[in-house]
Chain length 212, copies 2
């Protein structure tokens, strides 16, 4: 029986690149394409598939639900997860859910070929350990959560581009106190000035201060 590989990705261009990689690794394989999770389901119902490349973010499913579903309905079928996310957490979780490999979309064609080859040989492919990017957002969120109420209020003012004087007036404390709070916030967030603190706050979508 001919080997069949299912490529589930909603980006036609990226799918084209995947096809090229598959042709290099498995020249004789039959390639089946799907643009959405539901379409992938249909293809899997139509025929037996030996390997699936699954994008985590498609029109009808963003996240690990699709991976979980495929693992349940086809336990023996290796699934290679492909994601735009580079975070090590995403890769770890994907493998946790039974993925046979994880490939960030920033991978090169060569890397992709190696990953597909390894998975076809029954191995597990994970991004090189040196590339494990700690989930920066989670860490920063943890740091933000450690801020005291006063420090949080001060940070909100900083993130809004206010002067220390303005923040002090609104909190009814001295400007010197505001500065002390700000220094503490900098230490907790691991930054060295208010602009960087503002960036951290913006990245985590802190509630903006009322009024303007």
């Amino acid at each position: 029986m001919r080997e069949t590989i299912l490529l589930a990705d909603d980006h036609p261009l990226f799918r084209a690149a995947l096809i090229e990689a598959v042709r290099r690794v498995a020249p004789g394989a039959e390639i089946v394409e799907a643009e959405s999770l539901s379409e992938a389901r249909d293809r899997l119902a139509d025929q037996s598939v030996d390997l699936v490349c699954l994008d985590l973010h498609m029109s009808d499913s963003s996240g690990f639900s699709g991976l979980i579903e495929l693992r349940q309905s086809h336990p023996g079928m290796p699934v290679v997860v492909i994601s735009a996310s580079q975070s090590g957490g995403a890769a770890a979780r994907a493998l946790e859910f039974g993925a046979a490999g994880f490939i960030p979309k920033t991978a090169s064609l060569d890397t992709l070929c190696m990953a597909l080859g390894a998975v076809r040989d029954g191995e597990i492919w994970a991004p090189e350990t040196g590339d494990d990017i700690t989930d920066e957002a989670a860490e920063q969120a943890q740091r933000l959560a450690s801020l005291t109420p006063a420090q949080m209020r001060v940070l909100r003012g900083v993130a809004a581009g206010q002067l220390n004087k303005q923040i002090a007036f609104e909190m009814d404390i001295t400007e010197a106190t505001v500065k002390a709070h700000i220094t503490a916030v900098f230490r907790k967030l691991g930054v060295i000035n208010r602009t960087q603190a503002s960036l951290v706050a913006q990245a985590l979508e802190i509630e903006p201060p009322k009024s303007a």
Copy 2:
């Protein structure tokens, strides 16, 4: 002189797809690749380029600042913006900033070829433009676009939370000069300090991580 096309995208696989499209549309063209905005800058300094395909989301620049910069430094050179974002707003803003075309990464290879062909013929290629840009965003966009190259580079440093000293070192100018540029940027953007300037710059960077 041989036609030269610069492909600036940090995803090797997607770049491979772009190369395939260029080969179909312009078989004789020389293809130059860049993985980051700074690398794209270097290539543009090295040689004359007839067309640029620019990804909005690269390691050192996610947003329209790169597009604005290229339009400033090479006014006559058509720039096709490529983005993972499918929102009409992103496309409208890209065209507002002088892009010659906008291609979402969800586009098919055929669509991509058509777009490149149209731009090569001097046309503007855009997906259905349903959305319009809000006046406020347009004003800020206009202000950002009025920045000189040096002012833009300084603003990037400010928005990254760098010290004036660091910016001065990287641009090989005096800190006093950096301050002068910053003052000019503040006036043009209508802000009073670097944190607010950083916020304006951030506002024009589309879609923060949004994580998983």
